[in-house]
């Protein structure tokens, strides 16, 4: 039984259709990836799910209830939490205080009378930002701030985690540790929906992947299926193995795939051409990994 269902959602900004009849589901205990080229509507989907954006049409169901018309905070109280592509850490507060606030909000009035059992320092340790506990959140590295947002979410013990490009700003070993953390979280029964540009991570940890392009879900399936899906290759590369059958001109693929998201992701000339492209299904997959 799906925990979250996005059902035929359409979002229009003026004449632009950002999300176009998108439907997909997220299962508990699994990591679901939401990928697609820049501007495909991934973050807009997150906004629709969390209530920051009203869909033009369509429904969102969470734990068998239609939550399409619920306000942002009510949805959160039902057990979902998200991180942001553009950081939304509380910059004036320290890292520890950030998590404390989340805990306070989660516990509401109950927190006034009874101490929380949640160990904030253990949580910071688990996520990997304990070293920054007493620093202001606007003074720590981007990667750490993203992890902090995750810690903040976990303070509310959500069933569903929505992570928007969580690994950008992390180095390779940090990303590996992060992938393990995600799998651990799903073993606790949580569902994770993740927008991510790091294809190694996506292909490595996701149980299922949905691919968005121009607001449409063009493919859904397990990583291995997505990798070889011609429609996905076409969306990312502008051609697929089927109609080209040859190496892509290097210059073109680089620009097509360079993630220009606000998260300040890796330099495309550094890694993009060698790891990211093949990860989507290019022929060089095995060698580069």
């Amino acid at each position: 039984m799906a925990l979250l269902e996005v059902d035929d959602v359409v979002v229009q900004f003026g004449g632009v259709t950002a999300v176009d009849h998108a439907s997909f589901a997220v299962e508990p205990g699994r990591i679901t990836g939401l990928i697609g080229p820049n501007g495909a509507g991934k973050t807009t989907c997150f906004n629709v799910i969390t209530g920051l954006q009203k869909p033009t049409r369509g429904h969102v169901r969470f734990a068998d209830k239609d939550i399409t018309s619920l306000s942002v905070h009510r949805r959160s109280r039902r057990g979902m939490a998200r991180t942001f592509q553009r950081l939304e850490a509380f910059g004036s507060l320290t890292v520890r205080e950030n998590v404390k606030v989340a805990l306070d909000i989660h516990r509401g009035l109950k927190g006034l009378v009874q101490r929380s059992a949640t160990d904030i320092d253990a949580l910071l340790e688990r996520v990997g930002v304990a070293a920054y506990a007493d620093e202001r959140a606007d003074a720590i590295p981007t990667g750490a701030a993203r992890l902090l947002e995750l810690a903040r979410c976990l303070a509310g013990d959500p069933q569903l985690l929505l992570l928007d490009e969580p690994s950008s700003g992390l180095d390779e070993s940090e990303t590996d540790a992060f992938g393990e953390l995600l799998q651990e979280l799903t073993r606790e029964g949580r569902a994770i929906l993740m927008v991510e540009h790091d294809m190694d991570l996506v292909m490595g940890v996701c149980d299922e992947i949905h691919v968005l392009d121009f607001g449409k879900v063009i493919a859904s399936g397990r990583p291995a299926e997505i990798r070889t899906n011609p429609a996905v290759q076409k969306a990312y590369l502008g051609y697929s193995d089927d109609d080209a059958g040859a190496e892509a001109p290097a210059e073109q693929t680089r620009t097509d795939l360079a993630p220009v998201g606000a998260g300040g992701y890796a330099d495309p000339y550094d890694e993009g051409a060698t790891t990211v492209i093949p990860a989507v299904g290019g022929p060089g997959d095995q060698e580069t990994r």
Binding site: N47, T50, G51, L52, Q53, K54, S71, V72, H73, S76, R77, A81, R82, F84, R86, L87, E88, A89, F90, G91, S92, L93, E97, N98, K100, V101, A102, D104, I105, H106, G111, L112, A131, Y132, E135, R136, A137, D138, A139, I140, P141, T142, G143, A144, E149, R152, C153, G156, G169, G261, A262, G263, G264, Y265
Partner: protein
């Protein structure tokens, strides 16, 4: 029938003038994201310039008009944008509002200084011409105004839709950074829109002056009508703004015609724009939480409980000594300063911690004072009841704006202030028209405090207690949540916080604090009047609070003293009255970007001196057991907050690149 027609024409005339003013407001707001609350003040100042040219210097009307509309006004708007409001669009609403309120107050001061109060009139255009339509005579001035509003509408339409710069203007509404990438110049667009906005404010002011008089305040408050009209178009749509302006003009005119001129409805005419505004705000749809506006602010350090109690006790003791030397009239001034300081504390909560702005904080103080004055033999309980009533009123003001965000809340306090000033405070159950109310001194534990010195000390104690409580709140759960809401509403929402009721509670609490101050003030003075709590005094209050430091209790204390000194200065040197306002106004324009204000500079200086000279000073003192002095010096050396200016990233939203720089720095340091 003919009266209906003539009032309709009158309504269309005012509507046309409002439309001209409102379209200027919308233009500047949409292109630069800075709501120019001084828009009416622009019109006021430039109407005075027009009067100066055409009446005092005797230039021909057409030449004066040309000079004002096409030379002085655009230049003025251009300079203001370049020098004062540039980059404010990215700042928190509380900052951009404070800077434009600074302009508002500063321009009134400037006008008073250049053109001291005097009877001045501006004749209608072509006063002897007009046209008979049926039984109604339409003056040439009215026809010109209506025609000009059509010209302005058509001109703006052509500018925005048919010219290159107009396209750039529309693009800059959506994304100034992107516009820059495509070779547009957002700074040029911003300056141009402020130049045009300033001209339109001038035109509206000049057209309305013959009707409402060349008055510093009436013309300045034109901004409320313009804003009310613009709200119908959600500060975006020019056509709807025109509709709103016409509707407002007609409503106002019919209110004059058909509401009884005596009794409860007498004051309604003056508050039609404010009522219209509330009505529009209530039907506005829910504002969506915006992402990507986060700013961590560096605030003044928050002292520990022991420290704040220590300072509080110190203040009370010091005042106990100082008040011994004060005459009765000076005691009254000291009590007034304490009142103002308490009202400023309410702004520390609302603005300093919460990031919201109230433009009518004195009005809430007035509500508290009014409630107090109605009490028989008031005691502490009565005092708190008065504060609770003010808190309730504050919550009621925030309620209609529940679903909206910062700017709208602030502007509805402005409308609320007008409503109270002109309708409620003047009513017979309140102070009465130009009247006053007696208030008894308070009794504590059955003993009436009639001795002024004791009363003043009681007020100082209240200030200290409020400050200590406020700082305790800031350190606790509630304070953390407040800061979190200010930093990122979107994150708070997605973490499950219902911010709407939190905001109402915050507003109510702040109004309650102001109400408490007002009630104490009533007991101090013995007689209070509506003029003690005028809307327009709330603006210098806000400005001084920010300049002195709206993030600390120390700032509030200093702000209270300065605000008390203002009228003293004015009565001693009436010729400088305008200048004082101008200094405060433009001072706020200059310093308003740092809400930590002078108080925080003082704290920093204290820390620096402590680090630099602390050890030497302690060297002369007898050594303390356990090396306490050294440890203290060490703790002082560690800044509690990183030394950054609060709006380091004012220049633009956080981009990935800037983040990376931070990241590198952070890693290197770690």
């Amino acid at each position: 029938m003919s009266s209906l027609l003539s009032f309709t024409i009158l309504g269309v005339f005012s509507g046309a003038a409002y439309a001209i003013a409102a379209s200027g407001l919308v233009l500047t707001y949409t292109t630069t994201r800075v709501f120019n609350i001084a828009h009416g003040a622009f019109g006021m100042l430039l109407s005075f310039v027009f009067w100066d040219f055409s009446q005092r210097q005797g230039m021909p009307v057409w030449l004066s008009l040309f000079l004002v509309l096409f030379v002085v006004a655009p230049l003025f708007g251009f300079v203001v944008q370049r020098v004062m409001t540039r980059g404010l669009g990215e700042a928190p609403v509380s900052v951009s509002l404070v800077v434009t309120v600074g302009l508002f107050v500063g321009l009134i001061g400037l006008a008073q200084q250049i053109w001291p109060p005097d009877a001045r009139t501006l004749p209608f255009f072509l006063p002897d011409s007009g046209m008979q339509i049926g039984e109604v005579y339409v003056t040439a001035h009215q026809m010109i105004t209506i025609a000009l509003s059509v010209v302005v509408a058509a001109g703006l339409y052509l500018l925005l839709n048919r010219t290159r710069i107009g396209t750039a203007m529309r693009a800059s509404v959506d994304n100034p950074d992107l516009l820059k990438l495509y070779g547009g110049k957002p700074s040029q667009v911003a300056a141009l829109s402020w130049a045009i906005g300033s001209s339109l404010a001038a035109l509206a002011g000049i057209l309305l002056t013959p009707v409402i008089g060349l008055d510093y305040y009436e013309l300045t408050l034109l901004v409320i009508s313009a804003y009310a009209a613009a709200m119908l178009g959600r500060l975006k749509s020019l056509p709807l703004t025109f509709v709103g302006a016409m509707g407002l003009g007609l409503l106002q005119s019919y209110a004059v015609a058909y509401l009884p001129s005596e009794g409860a409805f007498a004051g309604v005419r003056a508050v039609v724009p404010a009522l219209f505004l509330f009505a529009v705000v209530i039907v506005m749809p829910q504002a969506q939480l915006r992402i990507g506006q986060v700013k961590g602010l560096v605030s003044a350090p928050v002292p520990s409980l022991q420290r704040s109690v220590g300072w509080g006790v110190g203040l009370v003791v010091a005042m106990a000594v100082v008040t011994l030397a004060l005459s009765d009239s000076n005691l009254l001034l000291a009590g007034t300063a304490a009142t103002y300081a308490m009202v400023m504390l309410s702004l520390v909560l609302l603005t300093g911690y919460g990031g919201h702005v109230s433009l009518a904080q004195f009005t809430f103080a007035g509500v508290g004072a009014l409630a107090y004055a109605k009490l028989d033999s008031p005691n502490l309980l009565g005092l708190f009841v008065a504060a609770a009533i003010a808190a309730l009123v504050g919550a009621l003001v925030a309620l209609p704006v529940l679903r909206l965000t910062g700017l709208y809340l602030a502007l509805s306090t402005l409308a609320f202030g007008v409503l109270m000033d002109k309708l409620v405070f003047q009513a017979s159950f309140a102070f009465g028209f130009n009247g006053s109310l007696p208030a008894e001194p308070m009794s504590v534990l059955g003993i009436a405090i009639t001795e002024p010195r004791v009363y003043v000390l009681l007020m100082v104690m209240f200030f200290a207690a409020m400050a200590v409580a406020l700082l305790a709140l800031r350190r606790g759960r509630l304070g953390r949540v407040l800061i979190a809401m200010r930093d990122s509403p979107a994150a708070c929402g997605t973490l499950g916080l219902d911010m709407r009721w939190f905001r109402v509670a915050l507003f109510g609490m702040s109004a309650g604090m102001a109400g408490l101050a007002g009630a104490l003030f009533a007991g101090l003075r013995g007689t209070i009047a509506a003029t003690d709590f005028q809307l327009l005094s709330s603006l210098p209050l806000l400005l001084l609070a920010v300049v002195c430091g709206v993030t600390s209790a120390t700032g509030a204390a200093f702000g209270g003293v300065f605000l008390m000194l203002l009228p003293v200065l004015q009565s001693n040197h009436p010729e400088l009255a305008g200048l004082a306002f101008a200094v405060i106004g433009f001072g706020a324009v200059a310093l308003g970007r740092d809400p930590n204000g002078l108080a925080n500079l003082g704290f920093k200086l204290g820390r620096t001196l402590g680090v630099r000279f602390g050890p030497q000073v302690r060297g002369f003192l007898p050594a303390l057991p356990g090396g306490g002095a050294r440890r203290e010096a060490g703790s002082m050396a560690e800044p509690t907050t990183p030394e950054r200016t609060p709006y380091d990233d004012l220049a633009g939203p956080r981009s990935g690149d800037q983040q990376e720089e931070v990241a590198v720095g952070g890693t290197a340091r770690g």
